[in-house]
Each structure stands twice: as structure tokens, then as C-alpha cells.
């Protein structure tokens, strides 16, 4: 089966007052209908990777190299109308803050029907009916009334649902989720996670789910990729990764998530802080914080070792 998303050796560098090497050689693929979680801390490059897939980064100060294809299309080559059709039609995105997706001066119905017409064509009346259906699909109660509501009139969880409906208006094959539940309360977060899981199956979409929260990733993902300093350091199925983390950073993250922590006992915390990424890493970027680092770790960049079963680890110790 051809993958829905294929990322080959992606590098993203921001130029400006200071240079930031945000993504440093990411290769990953996503099968149709699969959910891949991209897990990392702030500055790990997870959001940048996602935004690159929709070409949302400021073009003038971003240097992108590598190959990116979504549904067989070369994303980096898209221009003008093609790019506009791609965004929302093939791949669409949901954000942490629905304010980014909605214009405050138009009603929810206007904005969703507009997106429907944009990608599906048809009349305004037909698009409005479709918009209402979409609101039902995301389980918004009394959708008729919400169509006429403005974004600020909805509660946080409702706004998040409406944003998902907007993202689904063009029947995308790929849904990019950038921390969509981070700002929500726990009882609302789980509702949105379950909704996304369900919609992903119903619409048979592939989904890239960026989050900093392992628990959230476990709830929605089939596979997880752990990012650190602009690289994917470990990939595997959720089960493998949670039960048998191989990369020392993954182990540290699990410990920090209080996975199996004993109350009041000091945590096995990763010391230090992530590197600044003013320069692209030439050795293992995690080595300075790694308890099991050996000499080679601070000398050369580890290869992506394939351990079989879809398991890949970027660590000198794992590749033997």
C-alpha cells in the first residue's frame, strides 16, 4: 500500500535575527487511515514538522530541504490554486486555539459552508445543509442554532468541535492535529479525543497528532514518534513504546509522566535542558543529558536503527 504521507530527510531552518535548525532530518511515513502521534516537548520541532506539511511556515525566512509527499503529491512543489485546493481538500489542520481557525465576525455556519463550497462546490443552501450535517457529526447539540452563532458565543469544547467540523468540510484524507486538546479541561479533553478517534474511523482519514502528553497520545494513536531536537529519536507502536521504551529520552519522558512513579519518591528526571539548535546537531543531541551516554554519543550522530516490527531508534546504544 502506498503511504498517505511520506517524509524523507526533512530539514527546516529558520533564518532571521538568529538561525534556528528546527527540524534536522525527519523521515517518517503514515499509512492511509493510520494515526501517528508526534510526541515531544516545546522546541522539539513537532509543530514545525506538521506545519511544513501544509506549507504554513513563513516562506521568506524558512529553508526547507528533503522530500514531502501527501497522497502522491509533492507538497513542496505545490503553488497557487493547487496549494489552496490541497489545504483543506487533501490535508487540513486543527489547532490548540480555535481562534486561529475562525474569523470572529462571521457565524459558524457561514464559515463552514464557505469551506464546503470552496472544496465541494454547489450552492450556498446545499453547503449550509452540509455544514449542519458536519456539526451533527462532531456531536454539537442543537446544530441549527449553532450555525447562526458566532465563535465567541460557543464554549471552549464546542468551539473545538466546530473547528473540527470546519477541518472536515473538504473531506480531507489527512487530518493534522496540533495539540488540539491541550487548553481543555480534563473532562472535555477526553470527549474531544474520543470524538477524533471516532471521526478518524468514520472518515477513514490518516491523522498526525502532535502532542506533549503521552497519555493523550496513547488514547488516540496507533503509532508514536518521539521527537527531540528536531529529530525523531524513536518510533514504534503505542504498545511497544509504552511497555518497552528503548531510547533513553523516551524512558525519561515516561518517568516524567509519572508512569509508575511512587508517591513522594524522587523522580528519575532527565537533567538539563534541550539544546538551543543554533546549529544543526552533529552528534547525538541528547548525549549531554543522557545517563547512559558513552564516548561515541558526543562524537557522531546515531543512525536510525531499524529493530523490526516498525520499531526504529536513533541511539548508538540501540544499534549496538
Amino acid at each position: 500500500m502506498t503511504p498517505l504521507v511520506e517524509i524523507e530527510n526533512l530539514h527546516v531552518t529558520f533564518r532571521g535575527e538568529r538561525t534556528v535548525h528546527a527540524v534536522n532530518g525527519v523521515s517518517v511515513s503514515l499509512a492511509p487511515g493510520e494515526v501517528l502521534g508526534i510526541l515531544g516537548e516545546s522546541g522539539s520541532g513537532k509543530s514545525v514538522t506538521l506545519k511544513t506539511l501544509l506549507r504554513l511556515l513563513p516562506e521568506r525566512r524558512t529553508v526547507i530541504t528533503g522530500a514531502l509527499s501527501v497522497d502522491g503529491q509533492d507538497v513542496l512543489a505545490l503553488e497557487g490554486l493547487e496549494l489552496a485546493n490541497f489545504r483543506g481538500g487533501i490535508a487540513s489542520m486543527i489547532f490548540q486555539d480555535p481562534g486561529l481557525a475562525f474569523d470572529p465576525v462571521y457565524t459558524i455556519g457561514d464559515q463552514i459552508s464557505e469551506a464546503v463550497m470552496r472544496h465541494m462546490g454547489g450552492t450556498k443552501a446545499g453547503a449550509m445543509i452540509r455544514a449542519r450535517e458536519l456539526l451533527e457529526r462532531v456531536r454539537i447539540p442543537s446544530p441549527e442554532r449553532r450555525l447562526k452563532a458566532y465563535p465567541h458565543e460557543l464554549s471552549g469544547g464546542m468551539r473545538q468541535r466546530a473547528m473540527i467540523a470546519l477541518a472536515l468540510a473538504g473531506k480531507p484524507k489527512l487530518l493534522l492535529a496540533d495539540e488540539p486538546t491541550t487548553a481543555l479541561d480534563a473532562t472535555v479533553q477526553i470527549q474531544i479525543l474520543l470524538l477524533l478517534r471516532q471521526l478518524q474511523r468514520e472518515f477513514d482519514m490518516g491523522m498526525l497528532f502532535v502532542t506533549h502528553d503521552i497519555g493523550v497520545a496513547v488514547e488516540v494513536c496507533d503509532r508514536i514518534a518521539i521527537m527531540y531536537a528536531g529529530q525523531i529519536v524513536e518510533t514504534g507502536t503505542v504498545r511497544d513504546l509504552i511497555r518497552d521504551p528503548r531510547h533513553p529520552y523516551t524512558r525519561g519522558l515516561l518517568a516524567a509522566n509519572l508512569h509508575g512513579a511512587v508517591k513522594g519518591m524522587r523522580l528519575d528526571a532527565i537533567p538539563g535542558a534541550p539544546p538551543a539548535l543554533n546549529e544543526a546537531p552533529t552528534a547525538c543531541p541528547f548525549a549531554p543529558r543522557c545517563a547512559s551516554a558513552i564516548e561515541v554519543c558526543s562524537k557522531t550522530l546515531p543512525e536510525n536503527a531499524d529493530l523490526g516490527g516498525g520499531r526504529r531508534v536513533r541511539c548508538h546504544l540501540a544499534s549496538g
Binding site: 516537548e41 474520543l194 503521552i214 513522594g264 528526571a269 537533567p271
Partner: protein, 364 residues
Amino acid sequence: MHPAAHPHPDELKALAEKSRAVKLLPNADRGGPATPLLSVTGLTKHFPLARGAVVRAVDGVDFTVKKGETLGVVGESGCGKSTTARLIMQLLDQDAGEMLFDGELVGGLELPLKEYRRQAQMVFQDSYASLNPRMTIEASVAFGPQVHGLSKNNAITRARDLLAKVGLDPARFAGRYPHELSGGQRQRVNIARALALSPRLLILDESVSALDKSVEAQVLNLLLDLREAFDLTYVFISHDLNVVRFMSDRVMVMYLGEIVEIGPVETLYAAPAHPYTRALLAAMPSMDPDRRTEEAPLAGDPPNPINPPPGCRFHPRCPFAEALCCAVRPELSPVGEDGRQVACHINTPGARHSKAPPALEIIP
């Protein structure tokens, strides 16, 4: 040593001894070990809005914090946990209710406000907004001691001591400004600032919530070590139930300005008594790929604390709500043997709720 690592616990203890020697005035135990460090009764704060609406942010809250314990406070947005923190810190004036600190009335003759503020300190969520951008971090930490009469030099010396204790090498960091530090480092500064007056009570209001997980773990370790070294009592407020479980001895669950349940952390997490506590715990991601959450425990968003519903405030979302719940506000009352208190009619013996246990016979 790693820049972000703090001294070993034993070292920290020695440093703590030393700092007690140069501290302003002893913040000694006054009420005896059995007196709660903080005892709050009837604490209420309403914010009036236009057109007669009232935000009942905190509405008649009673609880105690024992000496040396960590009381976790959990709840969703609008539950009043942050307002409670600001009331405890007296950054807001309560509309009703009073607080006893080690048996003495806060703001009374025995414990005037300025004196109380040496005993209780707070660490805020936003590490950047809680540091003055125009002050070096040593100046920020030294500010409190200077307010309480320490000379500038002594205060700065003390600030550097504390920075060392929280894992920031003073020679490198003391002269820096907040924007030159990472979020985790800034939160260490905020902790040092809070400790500068040798308080006995530390209120941690979502203090680790904005940090990355690996940094959060470091700061949690620091808080554990400091608690030991300085004999601190914590009120630990967080929306993260995992972190609260890890840090706390007892947990207080708030909903729309009221306490719905309070009790020891292990039993409360293992067997939550209030339907809301149960829902909150069930909403936690499972961390087990084979036992994913299949059903959301609650529908909809947490309601707004403006004009909350009558009776039990949770009744519109509660699966067990009956007529009684819509009419009568359940009192926080003891349940079981573990010192748990719950505000739910189901747990009140003799209540007119179909699930309530029968009334206890009163033996004269």
C-alpha cells in the same frame, strides 16, 4: 554538575540549617503539632458583574491544612482553585469567612497581615509574568527580605544562597534578567523568591503546569527536597491529576466554587465517593493501549460559575441526580474511616435520595 540540577538532599539540609541561622526572625511553631497550620472556614468570594450577575468564584469553603502535609487541590476551570489560592495569600479580600494560621487569626492582632506574609508564600503559574522584567533575578529574590528589614547586602547574600539551593549557580545566574532564563529556570527563581522569607506554608498554584514534562520532573524533585529540608507545608494546586497524586498527602476536589470531596490521596483515587470526583478520575488518559477510555465520563463543558444551579451544583451533569439534588445543597460531611469528607446526598445517611444509606441510629 548540570546547570539545572540542584544540590543533593543532604547538602540542601545543611544549606537550610545555615539559612536558618541568617534568617530574619524565627518562624517558629506556635500552636503545637496538632494545631492545623491553616484552618479555613466559610471562605467566600463573589465577583459582581454587570446587570446583577455574580460570579460565585469561591462559595463557603471549609478545610484545614495540617502541619507538614501537602494538600492537593484539583478541579477544572472555574472551580475556584486559583481564587482560593489568592484568598489564602490574601491577595484578594474575602467577602466572608476567616482563616486561622497556626491557631491565630490571619489579619488579627496576633498575626497581622505583614507578619502572616512571612509565613505563607506563593508560586504562580506563569513563570515570566511573576518576575519583574526590569529586575535581575537576585534583586527579585532579595526584594522580600528587604521589605522585612534586611539590609540590601544581607538580602542579596541570602538571595544567592537560595538561588544555589534551587539549582541556579549564583555566579552565573544572579545577575541575569528573567528573559534570559528558560521557563524551568524562571520557576526555580520564583521558588527561591517564595522561600526568601522562610515561610512555613507554600502555595503552589499550577506552578509546574506550564513546564515541559522533563523540566516538570526536575522541579517536582526540587519541591520534594525543599519540603523536607525546610519543613514546608504545601498547598499544591493543579489540573494534572497525576502530578497531584504524586505530590499530595490529601486531596481536595473543587467544583464551581465548592468543595465536593476531600480526603487522603490513595483512598480518594482508589475509591472516589463523589460522582464528580469519579468522572474527573475517569477522564484521565489511561496510559494503557489495551484499555483505552471508551466512553467520556461527562458530556459538555464545565459550566460557568456565574449564577450556578441551585441545590447540588453538579446535579445538571450528574448521572444520579434526583429531585433532592436539584433543591438541597449537600453539606460536606464525613464518610468512612479514612477522614474523607464528601458533599453528596448519596453519601448522606438518611437523605431522601434513593441511593443514600439509611439513617444512622442515634445512640443516646
